[in-house]
């Protein structure tokens, strides 16, 4: 809302500079966004929050200024008293009928005859342009002037263009056509509140008038509309037809129903003054509003001190509220009875009054206090939320850069990444194709981030992201890991990335989380990944790792292999653990032996290890794979594996014979079970 200082000064004396005034307004709750000083007329631009429609007018803001300056507001006479409704007369030539009394609880019309349509006085034109509205003609400008002056939207119809001498406030019929003032033809639905004559729709109630009854240079007689439309109805029409006007903006937020007739009177006065028009009908008032006197609220000084943390004497509170146009009366010791006006229907509770008092008293008057901490035995902390911060630090310290990708993506990116769209959820009101789906996994976002950097000459990337995915109605927090290019590269060594690098990272993560009882499957279940594996924990698949398939890389135009894995983190932070007890460190020396053999590729290391462990139990306490060799001298379909074995006895030293026997047993077992061939 633009507040031109020159216009404001018509209603209240202001001695403050525009900058000082702007600061005072901000500190009392009318947030100033800018002060413009173009052509010497200062205009203060204020953000009016949705609870304060009363401030969407110059007079409303004058009352705010009055509250902190103490200066009186000079309200034009027309607004001071209610006019009695006129009796219907023949010469009115207009019959007003409200069909939907819920959508339109009050509708007033006024017939103005013999107007002289001409440009407005230049001062009025300047005023309107300073609030951002174009001057059109005196008749139209009057409706806009009154809107900005008091906040009540008005409309002027060319009376002679209204057919059948009838105004009907009703719901639209499906597919009914309406030509709006801006020349756009609107096809209406079956529930829009409209103003119609006997034949057609001539306005969308509270939103916009129609071209067919527009006031023009040739207009002689005018029907002046001032009404109260139900905010919800107006809002639905605004959303439905995507039309927002100064009128709809105010109706949506709720205008003061008491102002409806008064604003009409004010406009009639101006019609006479600026356009020589004659009010021949008086106020044709269809008023179905229930005579609601606002509920009285009790303000307790003691409670106010407790809630605000500042002592404001009740007499002072009363004065502040009175300056804000509330009716107040004493209600016993330290208590005040307050009745809000109809313009302040946002004030319904005691705490609302406290805010009114405090914002005028000044938020800066409240001191600073640190609340005492009360110890609670119940631990509120979210283990996952805390654990994620720690996990992120661990991943960064082992060389991964954290990325954050957008959670909404186009269907194309998802299908390019091999995601199955059938489990994905669509965004119903996306504003672009890039917001079509909520991500069912983090792969597409990760590939996009890789590609962005590959295009900028990156050769080696290690990324992680921790975030939520959503598919089949289920939200899960996952860790995405990606390796691109060499995982270790410097002048001394160069190591290309592999599945096992990624596996090693995830094992680090599991170790960090103290999750130990997990196993790897021989292949990944994720169709986007080849040469990979799933991680099972307590029988559940929690991760899939592998190499991103060539088809996907080709679609994304990514030149080298990407190793990718996604792990569900839910549940991993909440495992309840008993306090561990240490094992004594062995007193006797470890005996180390190496073993190397050629074996069929299809036999898994996991199975070899368990065969060895079983054969040399309970003395074999570690088996470390230290070499795999394929190629020269190794038959097709086979590989050579070498393990380093460590034997340990709790109660003594091994003799050579004992070790020999263990090695023998172990070797025999491997030969029997897997036909290994020792080297």
């Amino acid at each position: 809302m633009k507040l031109p200082i020159a216009w404001l000064k018509k209603y209240i004396d202001v001695k403050l500079s525009s900058e000082k005034l702007a600061e005072k307004l901000t500190l009392s709750g009318s947030k100033v966004e800018s002060v413009e000083n173009a052509s010497g007329d200062a205009v203060i631009d204020i953000e009016i929050t949705s609870n304060r429609p009363d401030c969407l007018s110059i007079l409303g803001l004058a009352h705010e200024v009055s509250a902190f300056t103490g200066n009186r507001v000079r309200v034009p006479d027309a607004y001071r008293q209610s006019e009695l409704p006129a009796r219907p007369r023949k010469e009115n030539v207009i019959d007003i009928h409200v069909e939907d009394k819920k959508g339109c609880p009050r509708y007033t019309g006024r017939v103005i005859r013999n107007v002289t349509v001409a440009p407005s006085p230049s001062e009025v034109q300047r005023s309107l342009s300073s609030v951002g509205t174009r001057a059109i003609s005196n008749v139209v400008d009057i409706t806009n002037f009154v809107l900005f002056e008091c906040g009540q939207p008005m409309h002027a119809f060319d009376l002679d263009k209204i057919r059948g001498g009838r105004i009907l406030v009703r719901r639209s019929r499906a597919n009914e056509k309406f030509l709006a003032l801006d020349g756009v033809e609107v096809t209406l639905d079956d529930k829009t509140l409209v103003i119609a004559d006997s034949e057609r729709v001539i306005a969308i109630a509270g939103v916009i008038g129609g071209r067919l009854t527009e006031v023009t240079q040739n207009t002689k007689n005018v029907l002046l509309e001032s009404a109260y439309f139900d905010p919800v109805n107006v809002r639905q029409a605004v959303k439905k037809y995507k039309i927002t006007t100064e009128s709809s903006y105010r109706f949506e937020r709720g205008v003061n129903p008491e102002n409806v007739g008064r604003a009409s009177k004010r406009a009639a006065d101006l019609m006479r003054e600026w356009a020589h028009g004659e009010d021949v009908s008086g106020l044709l008032d269809k008023n179905y509003l229930k005579a609601k006197s606002g509920r009285a609220i009790i303000l307790r000084a003691e409670r106010m001190e407790k809630v605000l943390g500042i002592k404001v004497p009740i007499s002072r509170a009363a004065r502040i509220l009175k300056n804000l146009s509330f009716q107040t009366s004493k209600a016993g010791k330290g208590k005040l009875k307050v009745k809000p006006t109809l313009s302040r229907r946002d004030v319904t509770k005691e705490v609302d009054l406290m805010e009114e008092v405090l914002r005028i008293e000044g938020f800066d008057k409240v001191g600073l206090r640190l609340p005492p901490s009360r110890y609670t035995f119940e631990d509120l902390r979210d283990r996952k939320a805390m654990g994620i911060f720690r996990l992120k630090r661990t991943l960064a310290s082992i060389g991964f850069d954290e990325i954050m990708t957008l959670s909404l993506l186009s269907g194309k990116k998802l299908s390019d990444s091999g995601s199955d769209l059938s489990g994905c959820h669509k965004v119903m009101n996306a504003t672009s194709a890039e917001q079509e789906y909520i991500r069912p996994d983090l792969l597409a976002g990760t590939l996009e981030a890789l590609l962005f950097n590959i295009h900028r000459k990156a050769v080696s990337l290690k990324f992680f992201e921790i975030g939520n995915r959503y598919r089949n109605g289920k939200e899960e927090t996952v860790l995405a890991l990606a390796l691109y290019g060499p995982s270790d590269e410097n002048w001394a060594k160069r190591h290309p990335s592999s599945f096992h690098d990624l596996k090693g990272v995830l094992e680090n993560v599991m170790d960090h989380l103290r999750v130990h009882s997990f196993e790897w499957t021989p292949a990944s279940s994720d169709p986007a990944l080849v040469a990979g594996s799933d991680l099972l924990w307590e029988g559940q698949k929690i991760a899939s790792l592998g190499e991103v398939s060539g088809a996907i890389l080709k679609r994304w135009d990514i030149p080298h292999e990407v190793f990718y894995g996604e792990t569900v983190l839910d549940g991993l932070f909440e495992i309840k653990r008993e306090i561990m007890k240490i094992r004594p460190v062995a007193k006797f020396p470890v005996v180390r032996r190496d073993i190397a053999f050629i074996i069929d590729n299809r036999v898994l290391v996991k199975d070899l290890k368990s065969a060895m462990r079983n054969a040399a139990a309970p003395y074999l306490y570690s088996m470390t794979l230290f070499d795999q060799f394929v190629g020269k001298n190794i038959p097709e379909g086979k590989r050579s594996l070498a393990f380093s074995l460590s034997y340990q006895k709790e109660d003594g030293t091994f003799t050579d014979d004992e070790i020999q026997a263990l090695q023998q047993r172990l070797g025999d077992s491997l030969k029997r079970l897997y036909q290994v061939e020792f080297r």
Binding site: G29, R52, L308, G367, P371, L380, M404, H425, I438
Partner: protein
């Protein structure tokens, strides 16, 4: 043969004493102990001896061999400890080869720092889902359907009737439904609004929500906590002001600004207020007995102010030349 061994011992000692560097030592080792070295050629003659002589010569061979090995290895040790430059020359200005660490995303760093400050003030870190319902995002927060207050919270809806939360205040309701006061919580998280994307708007961004509910919590407590936060986060000399504002779920509500010397203007950094009685009633907490305050802040905005980032989109582009600066 025994004499020959003794001679060999004397020669070796003399030559070893004259050694000057490590490569000469290697040569000397080969000369005496190599496969075709002097020791091997002398020892080979053992086959020509009688059994008795063989026994004595064998003992002598062992003795001399051990002596030579000890001699050479002690010599080797002396070269090592005195540090022979000609062998141990390195270029210490070549880059280190231990793998470099990665970086935390700047938004994570800001969230972590903010959470740390509030944890010191006794707040507990909590979390909530991103896919939410009308109740948590609006209704329980005193934002009725068809109310213009919803304009500030434009929201994405999904095909299954759920929505993407447009504010982290949802976590307030989730916590208050489960817990009885007193509590103090801090909840960072992702939020979504269908805004057109530009340098200062993104349809996805992050907020941090805070909430305290207890008996006797007042506006002075809210001010105390947020002043403490602003000074911790932005520096002890930070100027802070509270301006009245409107949020449906707090009353009184405030915008909190800090003064920017650089821009010579107030910058909005936080929204806050006392928890609205309607919100407490929605979760069956007696608003006469308990009061509380809540606040929320935009993480991207804090990060932009702190690091001088001009374009919000940089946070989600994941350009490593940007990320690795943090």
């Amino acid at each position: 043969m025994i004499n020959a061994l003794k001679q060999l011992e004397r020669d070796a000692q003399a030559e070893a004493a004259a050694l000057s560097d490590r490569s000469a030592l290697e040569d000397l080792k080969v000369k005496y102990l190599g496969r075709k070295g002097l020791f091997a050629s002398v020892s080979a003659k053992i086959s020509e001896l009688s059994p008795e002589e063989k026994r004595l010569a064998g003992q002598e061979m062992n003795r001399v061999k051990q002596l030579l090995e000890t001699l050479f290895s002690s010599k080797e040790g002396s070269f090592q400890s005195s540090g022979d430059d000609s062998v141990r020359k390195i270029d210490p200005t070549m880059p280190g080869t231990f793998r470099a660490p990665g970086n935390l995303h700047p938004l994570t760093q800001v969230m972590s720092d903010v959470v740390d400050i509030f944890e010191r003030l006794g707040f507990c870190l909590v979390d909530g889902p991103e896919v939410e319902t009308e109740r948590y995002n609006f209704e329980a927060l005193n934002i009725p359907l068809n109310h213009p207050a919803r304009d500030s919270f434009d929201t994405f809806y999904l095909d299954n009737g759920k929505l993407l939360r447009s504010q982290t205040s949802t976590v307030q309701i989730r916590v208050m439904e489960k817990m009885k006061p007193p509590f103090k919580i801090i909840a960072p998280g992702k939020v979504f609004r269908p805004d057109a994307t530009d340098a200062t708007h993104s349809f996805m961004f992050h907020q941090i929500e805070g909430l305290m509910v207890d008996e006797g919590v007042s506006f002075a407590d809210l001010k105390g906590v947020l002043f403490a936060f602003a000074k911790e986060f932005f520096g002890p000399k930070t100027k802070v002001r509270f301006c009245p504002h409107f949020f449906p779920f707090t009353e009184p509500s405030a915008d909190i600004d800090i003064w920017s010397e650089q821009r010579q203007s107030w910058l909005e950094i936080l929204g806050a207020g006392l928890v609205h009685p309607n919100v407490l009633e929605a979760v069956k907490i007696d608003p006469e007995r308990y009061t509380g305050f809540a606040f929320g802040m935009g993480v991207e905005r804090l990060a932009m102010l702190r690091y001088g980032v001009e374009d919000i989109r940089q946070f989600f582009e994941n350009d490593v030349r940007f990320l690795r600066q943090f």
